[in-house]
């Protein structure tokens, strides 16, 4: 038995330690927002946060994350069901087409924005988001949504500095 902490909740999963975290999330815990795309850390559809950092769950052994905080796309939604601001902006910008890769895109983007405290350059976006594939070609909108979320993040940090 491995104890996993996903979206703030503890789960016991009965699987060998070398099985990718992706399958623990999807099949054992039943959270299907995190997607299987390549199985080789090439497309980023499976991106989740492990202790706040964007990681590809398709190549992360479940045994490696037993005492760490795992956050999935479902986990960034507020407790009352309100989507995270990045998710709202994603929707307002009509980023998603088929939508399959977007959970991974959003988790990669959010980690970048949080890490950079909202100071995100185009070069940062190129460097980080080039790890996430989208066959529908939503990249221009992903870029725009990241820029907007980054501005929001800055304003949040300023507000919290003031208080």
């Amino acid at each position: 038995m491995i104890t996993l902490k996903v979206n703030g909740k503890e789960h016991q999963v009965n699987m060998p330690e070398d099985v990718p975290l992706l399958w623990a999330i999807r099949e054992e815990i039943g959270l299907t927002g995190t997607k299987f795309g390549c199985g080789k850390s090439l497309c980023g559809a499976c991106t989740v946060h492990i202790d706040g950092q964007a990681r590809r769950s398709c190549v992360t052994p479940v045994g490696m994350v037993s005492n760490r905080e795992v956050t999935t796309i479902e986990g960034i939604v507020e407790d009352d069901g309100t989507p995270h601001m990045i998710q709202q902006i994603w929707a307002e910008e009509n980023v998603a087409q088929c939508g399959y890769c977007q959970s991974g895109q959003i988790m990669s983007a959010l980690a970048l924005i949080v890490h950079q405290k909202g100071e995100v350059t185009d070069t940062d976006i190129d460097a980080v988001m080039s790890a996430n594939l989208c066959r529908c070609g939503t990249y221009p909108r992903i870029r725009r949504a990241i820029q907007r979320t980054a501005v929001w993040m800055q304003s949040q940090l300023e507000t919290s500095d003031e208080t």
């Binding site: 998710q87 307002e92 980023v95 088929c98 190129d126 066959r135 529908c136």
Partner: protein, 745 residues
């Protein structure tokens, strides 16, 4: 609302206003009379079903598949417009119903085909609600106005909501020809808005085929022959059965399936299964050999002459005419949608149910009927969202996997999940081919002749088998062929082999005084199918680079030559003028960069692009694309722009993508060797839509075809090297060194 509830509501009827509409205006089209509609209209048009029930819930049953192109948003927009409700008041569900007749999403035909039927269905509902209010109030119909989800009276009395009226509306006579709103009264059509599926797709709630949850489902991971089509001749799997969760290992036509409670258990146990494979369908096949043979064939006489105007041979013999020749080649390509293929199937005696992300539930139905001999009324198809389609999900090989495995465990739902490696190495592909273009220039540099010889695999050699098998038997063979052609955006000349493969060459609008298109088919057992923009993905590249080349060889301006040769086609001229206006075409550009232009037509829409490209560290870099489309009246401008951006990016991926066979084995198996375009390689894109009052035409594919041509033209402008082989990046790296290069660089 869940689909199950929805179906119950359809069945109950009382208090529920249930309406249908279709191309001919009659209810309940069955496959038996599809042909009539098809013959009358020339293209199959779909049905829609709207239901409004007592709590005011409005449900729109879509007959189209949502694969990212935004048809859910557009369907809802059309219905909401005529019903006088907001988009958020309508829930759209993808359903398969035999009453819809043929359900097929492809060829960029959705908007053209649902624009009137959905609005008619909604207008019918609106009129019956007005009639109900008129009866309830005892007032003339003309004083009852539909507005904001209710019927208002002109005297300002308290309005009646649709929920209050739905039971009475059911009793009203169905109006034969309900008036459709005039375009000047549109509230929603033509106005941008947030997609109805946007939030579900940003929060992980959207359900794709791979996310289907069913009690007691069993997961299948499939081992495949290294050469596609090989069957297992010997299997040893005893150790795998001892692994946790593993239930069985079954051999079938397309591989060896490990069945387990969880997919990870099946995949893990697969390492303990040893299989000896029999001969595959393309044993020993090399794409490099095919390239050589196809190239050689282009030099010979073509097998079929598809189109001939004037006499190209005679013209080229004239002393006054200079001949210009370019040789083209293009590779097999995988669709590689982000969601690997999958399907869940339950086979229980004479009953089959599948849960599937598909572009055509009708094709799935016909396939199951033909394969298992089960009547259509015993087959249930539940549709999920598609994690990308691009043509790939019009095939049914993943359905075949699911039903053949499920048949071995009656009563148990089997979920088949492909890996990326399976998705990329099992086909279907955009065909590989070659083309020789020979042009003639007179002594003034004017283009007097173009002769094209295309050598390619047939896209749909046998509609019955190739397009999945697959339409229900009640549809005659002749119809199946027509449907397949209709689905790929062509209606005319359906009898001509090589017409569909010719794409932009076959449908060429340039008024060359002498023109000839010859076609020679390649017969090889590699599974091919429509790939976003079908034959235009290579034929526009060929035509639009060749005309550029001819213009420049004749000392003329590529834009002026295009406009002269398209002078009879005002829509082409408009997009060309607009793309010049919105780009910096003709203006100076810094050393190392160039601009290229291209124009194309697909699914009755016209596109022109200007691309800025150059070479940086031996890599092709595209930094900006200006794109103008005329796609008729626009339902959702932001959806159209997203399709423009998406098709350009999918097209630019072709600069590096290829599928190669070596000794029968596909070499590209994942995104490391099949390098789809990524964020840092994506140019800025200006997407401009020309306003139009014409009926809507296609948008999902149209912006892909010209982009590689425009890139090649831009690189010629910047380097003096003409790239005629796709992928362009390979062509650049393998370019023959020319003296012009030193001069230009």
């Amino acid at each position: 609302m869940k689909r199950r509830q929805f179906l119950q509501i359809l069945g109950v009827g009382s208090g529920t206003l249930l309406l249908g509409a279709n191309a001919t205006g009659c209810l309940g089209v069955t496959p038996h009379n599809i042909e009539d509609i098809f013959e009358q209209k020339g293209i199959f048009e779909p049905n829609v079903f709207l239901s409004i029930h007592e709590d005011g819930q409005i449900v729109l049953a879509m007959n189209k598949s949502e694969m990212g192109q935004g048809v859910m948003m557009s369907s809802v927009t059309l219905a909401a417009e005529e019903l006088e409700v907001s988009r958020s008041q309508i829930e759209a569900v993808q359903v398969h119903k035999s009453a819809f007749g043929l359900q097929m999403t492809g060829g960029s035909t959705s908007m053209a085909s649902i624009f009137i039927p959905i609005r008619k269905a909604a207008a019918t509902a609106r009129e019956m609600l007005r009639m109900a209010a008129a009866e309830k109030w005892g007032v003339p119909l003309a004083s009852c106005i539909a507005k904001e989800g209710a019927i208002h009276h002109s005297d300002g009395r308290h309005p009646l909501s649709y929920a209050e009226l739905s039971a009475m509306a059911v009793q009203q006579p169905v109006p034969k020809d309900p008036p459709l709103k005039s375009s000047k009264d549109f509230r929603l059509i033509g106005t941008p808005g947030q997609r109805v599926d946007a939030l579900d797709k940003s929060t992980g709630r959207a359900v794709f085929g791979t996310d289907v949850q069913i009690d007691n489902k069993v997961c299948a991971y499939i081992l495949r022959s290294p050469v596609m089509g090989g069957q297992a001749v010997n299997i040893s799997f005893e150790p795998a059965l001892k692994e946790p969760g593993v239930l069985d290992v079954v051999s079938y036509e397309r591989g060896v399936a490990i069945l387990a409670n969880k997919f990870w258990q099946a995949k893990r146990a697969a390492k303990l299964v040893e299989v000896e494979w029999g001969e595959g369908q393309v044993e020993g096949f090399n794409t490099s050999d095919l390239a050589t043979a196809a190239r050689a064939k282009t030099m010979e006489k073509g097998d079929f002459t598809i189109k001939e105007i004037g006499n190209t041979e005679k013209v080229l013999k004239s002393d006054a005419v200079t001949s210009v020749e370019l040789n083209y080649a293009y590779p097999y390509l995988s669709h590689a949608p982000m969601e690997p293929q999958n399907c869940t199937a339950l086979v229980d005696g004479e009953y089959v149910k599948i849960w599937v992300p598909t572009q055509s539930p009708t094709v799935c139905l016909g396939f199951i009927e033909n394969r298992l001999g089960i009547p259509p009324e015993n087959i249930e198809i539940e549709m999920t969202l598609l994690g990308g389609g691009f043509g790939r999900r019009s095939c049914v090989d993943f359905v075949q996997d699911a039903i053949q495995i499920a048949r071995k465990r009656p009563g148990v739902p089997i979920q088949v999940q492909w890996t990326r490696e399976e998705d990329m190495s099992l086909g279907y592909y955009r065909p590989q081919g070659a083309c020789r273009m020979v042009g003639g220039l007179d002594d003034t540099g004017k283009i007097v002749s173009v002769h094209s010889h295309l050598v390619s695999q047939l896209l749909f050699p046998d509609i019955g088998e190739q397009f999945g098998g697959l339409f229900p038997k009640v549809i005659p063979e002749k119809m199946r062929r027509k449907i397949a052609y209709a689905a790929t955006g062509y209606l005319s000349n359906t009898s001509l082999m090589g017409f569909i493969e010719g794409g932009d060459i076959a449908t060429c609008k340039y008024s060359f005084p002498n023109f000839r298109y010859d076609f020679s088919p390649i017969h090889i057992n590699v599974p091919v199918t429509a790939w976003r923009s079908v034959a235009h993905s290579y034929s526009t590249f060929i035509m639009e680079t060749f005309i550029d080349h001819l213009a420049l060889e004749g000392g003329q301006d590529p834009l002026s030559v295009r406009k002269q040769l398209l002078s009879e086609h005002p829509r082409y001229l408009s997009v060309l003028d607009a793309v010049v206006e919105h780009s910096q075409w003709g203006e100076p550009i810094e050393k190392g960069w160039g601009r290229g232009i291209a124009v194309s037509e697909f699914a009755r829409s016209i596109v022109a692009q200007v691309v800025e490209a150059g070479i940086v560290d031996d890599e092709i870099v595209v930094r900006h694309v200006t794109c103008v489309v005329d796609c008729g009246l626009v339902i959702n401008p932001d959806v159209v722009k997203a399709q423009m951006e998406g098709a350009i990016i999918y097209g630019l991926s072709m600069m590096r993508e290829k599928i190669e066979f070596v000794d029968g084995v596909v070499q590209q198996r994942n995104f490391d060797s099949f390098p789809a375009l990524r964020m840092h390689q994506t140019p800025t894109i200006d997407a401009i839509i020309l306003s139009s009052e014409n009926d809507p035409t296609g948008i999902g594919e149209i912006c892909l075809p010209p982009v590689n041509a425009a890139v090649s033209n831009a690189l010629y402008a910047s380097t003096g090297i003409r790239l005629t082989t796709m992928p362009l990046q390979d062509a650049w790296v393998n370019r023959p060194l020319q003296s012009t290069e030193e001069v230009s660089l």
